[in-house]
Symmetry: C2
Subunit: 109 residues, 2 copies
DNA sequence: AGAATATGCAACCAGGAGGTTGCCGATATG
DNA sequence: CATATCGGCAACCTCCTGGTTGCATATTCT
């Protein structure tokens, strides 16, 4: 019996934070290491403020961490949230996979 | 060398589709097997139409599949999209993990 | 000190997302 | 056939989101 609720709703903010191309781009950039906000905004067709807002969202989802270094803000990744999301996805996907597999097998009889 | 762009922007719709508690709930329900739209909407504090809209989004993201059986629509999960998302997350997380690890080691010297 | 740089805060705006209601066509069921 | 059920379509509403601009504040550089 597969009764378990596959994904806790707590993950919604994380997925929502990932559900924006700009944010994915930011995450991509941060993959190489911490950056300041202006550095992050530099290549993008966006205002620095827009980036700052995105960072607020990402910080809220636990994807990113921000610390002060003099007058600039060092933004760095926090893989924990991602790892958690991945694990839940993996679990849920496996469950569904087996369920669908079972149904498929039933249907084929 | 980690040449980053770790995640293709094509994933954004998938994550966006997952970034809503209601949708996560729907996915949870579908985990037990295909359901009709009214069945899906039954326990929820939502109109059938609202659920239908969510299903449109999810279908667009490839999370769900819909087929007609008489007058009712059978909605079923498509784990492929989820598996893909999981794989990308896993890859990205691993990359970042090693990067952060490296940085941390540098910082500790 | 004075200029330049990096960030933060607030107001504002357009568009999309989530939701509702009302209606209509198609399929089952009495 | 009459009626109830299931689903799709469309209009409408409200609120959040992504974005902008303008200004204030704190740090660094000369």
């Amino acid at each position: 019996m597969v009764t378990s609720p596959p994904m806790s709703p707590d993950l919604a903010p994380v997925f929502a934070a990932l559900g924006d191309p700009t944010r994915l781009a930011l995450i991509g950039r941060l993959g190489a290491g911490p950056l300041s906000i202006t550095e992050l905004a530099d290549g993008l067709p966006l205002t620095r403020q827009a980036v700052a807002k995105h960072l607020t969202v990402m910080r809220g989802a636990g994807l990113v961490e921000q610390s002060r270094a003099g007058r600039e803000a060092r933004v760095s990744l926090r893989p924990e949230a991602l790892l958690a999301a991945r694990d839940h996805l993996a679990l849920a996907a496996a469950q569904w996979d087996s369920t669908l597999d079972r149904l498929k097998r039933l249907a084929e009889d």
